[in-house]
Symmetry: C3
Subunit: 157 residues, 3 copies
């Protein structure tokens, strides 16, 4: 009996130590074009709650006019990022997409497609492996306030 | 004996509920530069067949002259995406890479490097978590028809 | 006893076949702006050591002035990539970020934010699924020599 019990306990431990998939959602309200939201603190907080030690966090923004990136979140850089997008994909220009819906946010779609909707960050010892000046940022490219849903999927042990 | 049997069943269940890695391939023929292929429906179909509930799908295009992105797949936006690439990395220009091989697709390589070859999408309840107007698109940047291989790797439970 | 032993062996096998997370680090010294380092051979070597068959490798560079991309690593393309970045985000210009710290690497931060800090590559049969002319490259955008830490996280079986 003792042997059996021991093995049962061993098995429970194995299950407890196994791989897990935890899906969480972060809902944010943005003010529209140019809003850059630092979500790093929330990611750390939710990772801490999962108690997972090692694995990856996939950050994915739902929708076609927003993106996820990383940069040093300080006022100078925030201005530079906005200026860069205005230069690469100007908002004052007419795009073919605008004629499809008449909503004048063609530039928002183009910026989002180029920047990308997902980012994968490894974590170890329950901490995201990020640089000190490397924040995870939601880039709102749309030209009107939006309610954003960001998927946070943790996979690991 | 009954106890042993019960435990054996329990073990089978544990295996059935465990993490899986499923690797599939999507082979496509493209017409060359500017071909933008919406592959969303195929991704949903293959995910459905895996019967996996929660996890991530990694979409990765093999090769250095194509990329994966997401955008609202409609004729206006397709035109805008092509125009944007023509502006950022013009096809009519001579690149140093063209002198290496003499194949004149330096612009294709540059566009692919900037856009990126992979995308990770979370899924829950056997559905990819995408926006209604957020399609997954293969961007063919090469200047000649190509046979493309896209890796679809599902990881989850 | 034989039965128990048999089951014990079966259990060990199950554990051996289970999902694993392996976190490795690649430390590199770069010469500063424009350094493009092909890290493909190291990735293959470390994957080989893990003995994992199927799964994903997440490549993530720590810091906000470097990025990860893929391209055909040959002298012509290396020159083209540098020229493209100089055109999209010129290094000779003054950025708001430069006024924050006085370190004149605003352009490095912008390039890194646009290119992206992570890349996910699927592997099967212990081989990364990459094209023959598709190398994994660390792009150093900073304007001074840096010691770079790249996280390699393997997840799979």
């Amino acid at each position: 009996m003792r042997d059996l019990k021991k093995r049962t306990l061993g098995k429970e431990k194995a299950v407890e130590d196994g791989m897990r998939v935890v899906t969480e959602y972060l809902n944010l309200n943005t003010e529209g074009d140019g809003t850059l939201v630092d979500i790093t603190a929330q990611l750390h907080k939710i990772l801490s709650k999962t108690k997972m030690k090692n694995g990856t966090l996939t950050v994915f923004v739902v929708g076609s006019t927003a993106a996820i990136t990383t940069f040093e979140y300080e006022p100078g850089m925030i201005k530079d990022i906005r200026d860069l997008w205005e230069k690469l994909v100007p908002s004052g220009q007419r795009y073919a997409h605008d004629d499809t819906w008449g909503d004048a946010n063609g530039f928002s779609h183009l910026r989002a497609a180029l920047q990308g909707s997902s980012l994968v960050i490894p974590f170890a010892d329950n901490k995201l492996i990020l640089g000190t000046w490397q924040q995870v940022v939601l880039a709102e490219f749309d030209n009107r306030p939006r309610e954003r849903r960001i998927v946070l999927q943790f996979m690991g042990k």
